[in-house]
Symmetry: C2
Subunit: 371 residues, 2 copies
């Protein structure tokens, strides 16, 4: 793998926006916000009604996870996340010439699977915080995190299959295949923790499974429910898959250089977790002095017992070496490459130009976001 030339900028911690947003990619924020709001507001009541079907205490635990109530059970106006997936599902119904509403069960099913994976992954990874709050296993215990995750997974299939149509069967099949990839990605992610080195290709495969697969499903499920043929659905999946890879590249940048105030995570979050994310593996794959120095430092870190007490400066040194090696710039370019491939996939789908423009606007948003 070639990493291209070394980055020209020497960004500092203050520079929280990934180096992706170029002058030629002006995101119409109002347009994107309207899209995200529509997805959120159409999907939310159906999602809540589905979750309300769960037997106690699973309904309450879910409501906590989704941010509808706090740990004490009082109503909360939680941060439900960016809601990119529901927006995509509705848009994909429109791509098939159907009303956005036809994508709603798909949007809800995808959100349920996404949240099933968050519940289980947080427990498996021992993550204590999610969306600025304690994770479910921290608040309600590991058994509830497992059980409620299982329930949301089952509910996802139920929400689709109870439509009782052939389209719903096809949508469930695509969702199931995406879920299998999601689980493969988590298995790979866990295995990376125990390994000394991970190649850029392995990292991209893992991210394609862990992030790409479900965004691919979100981008096509509305179309499938709206009666689209397999070719159209496959192209929309391809858009979503590459969008997912762009999304994850940006996430990996934010995981190191993101502003804690926006991301809700600690400074140098991914470095603190010794995560072998894209900027790190790309930096290590480069053939230069900074890369070799970084490799030595990280190898020592892996054996260090003092890692927990590292100062801000020690992480800043590692981040600077990743940047000097070219890992930040490469990841930033990777986000742009994946963005381009995603948009290209749309070209093969016959849809209203307005719908296409909205798909592109969402893709633009994904690579320029700050959280």
């Amino acid at each position: 793998m070639s990493l291209g030339t070394a980055p020209t900028s020497t960004g500092t911690r203050g520079e929280t926006v990934p180096t992706v947003p170029p002058a030629d990619m002006a995101v119409d924020t109002a347009d994107v916000n309207a899209l995200l709001d529509r997805g959120r507001s159409l999907a939310a009541p159906v999602l809540r009604a589905a979750v309300d079907r769960l037997a106690p205490p699973m309904d309450t635990v879910s409501a906590y996870h989704f941010g509808w109530i706090d740990a004490a059970g009082n109503p909360a106006a939680g941060d439900g996340g960016k809601a990119v997936r529901p927006a995509l599902a509705l848009l994909s119904a429109e791509a098939a010439g159907a009303a956005p509403e036809q994508g709603v069960p798909g949007a809800v099913a995808v959100e349920l699977v996404h949240n099933f994976s968050l519940l289980h992954d947080d427990l498996m990874d021992g993550d204590e915080q999610r969306r600025h709050r304690d994770t479910v296993w921290k608040v309600h215990g590991p058994a509830q995190a497992i059980l409620v995750g299982d329930a949301l997974f089952a509910l996802a299939n139920e929400v689709l299959l109870e439509l009782g149509t052939a389209e719903a069967g096809r949508a469930t099949r695509r969702l199931t295949s995406a879920t299998r990839k999601l689980i493969d990605g988590q298995a790979q992610d866990i295995s990376f923790e125990h390994r000394e080195s991970v190649t850029v290709e392995e990292c991209l495969t893992m991210e394609g499974n862990k992030t790409g697969a479900l965004l691919a499903c979100a981008s096509s499920i509305g179309a499938v429910l709206g009666g689209a043929d397999d070719r159209t659905a496959d192209l929309l999946e391809s858009y979503g898959h590459h969008l997912g890879l762009a999304f994850q590249a940006v996430d990996d940048l934010l995981g190191i250089w993101g502003d804690p105030g926006s991301t809700g995570k600690q400074t140098w979050s991914d470095l603190r977790q010794r995560k072998k994310s894209l900027p790190v593996v790309a930096a290590l794959a480069a053939d230069n002095a900074a890369s070799r120095r970084l490799g030595e430092l990280l190898a020592a870190d892996a054996k260090s017992n003092d890692f927990e007490t590292f100062s801000e400066e020690e992480f800043a040194t590692r981040a600077a070496l990743i940047e000097e090696s070219g890992g930040r710039e490469w990841t930033s370019q990777e986000a742009r490459r994946q963005h381009a491939v995603a948009v290209e996939a749309l070209a093969g789908v016959d849809m209203q130009e307005e719908v296409r423009a909205q798909f592109v606007a969402l893709a633009d948003f994904v690579v320029v976001r700050e959280r």
Copy 2:
């Protein structure tokens, strides 16, 4: 609830067979074994092929769970369980006039869901032994137990949906609904642990969800795949549901009075786990001196710190009080009642008499088994 008359027999520990098998219920062991063998041998290769699709290390962890390899990875001829579910799934295809082979994907999907729930339940319940071996979370860690459970659940849907037929969609819908009940049952079971008392009705609801739902699905899924109408499938589900309740009543008897050599569990297994199983809740619901004495003892046990060091005699005392209260006899009668309702449901289904006789033989087997 009325508990009926006190039991006349005063069984001892040596009496390991539940008091159910009556003179009028002669089980043709050869016939039942042939049925179970057929289910096992037709489903096994398809199950193994499905599990082989999992990415490493999930394939290996699954193979350990199913007993195909030991903890060191060497081939093992594990105890795959009684295989009642696969036998039912194949028989149910025949009930719809289809070849038993048509039930195979259903048998495999049900086995996958069953094993997904075992993996997760063992972790949630902290159970260290299953089928005479260490459980997956003990050998491979909690994260693998969660992850592989998730993978088996997803695989179950995949195995059905890749058939691509309308029948497969209907089968998946029934399997999903059974899985939701399974999860509800586990939620109820967990909640019972933290409660002082549980009614017989609550216990039966929990067991109907935790055991009845999946046996109901196994009993109908082959028929659905074989093209049966909803009415037929519902009646077969009813057979399976009540069979499941009979099965669980017998399991609860074996959990206290079973022979450890046959069950693979410790003596007084359910008492050691302070499980509020059917004989216990039925005994506590009775209005007699033994019942009141049992209530006092169990209330004290719940607060005791020495419970772990209880002697055989102390458990024997509790078991004798359950028996004296009528809890053993009531549970035994309950197994027979549920058996009768199960067999009655078959009457409404138009099927070959030979197939019907086999359904009945399986039901007989379930209530007279020793493990």
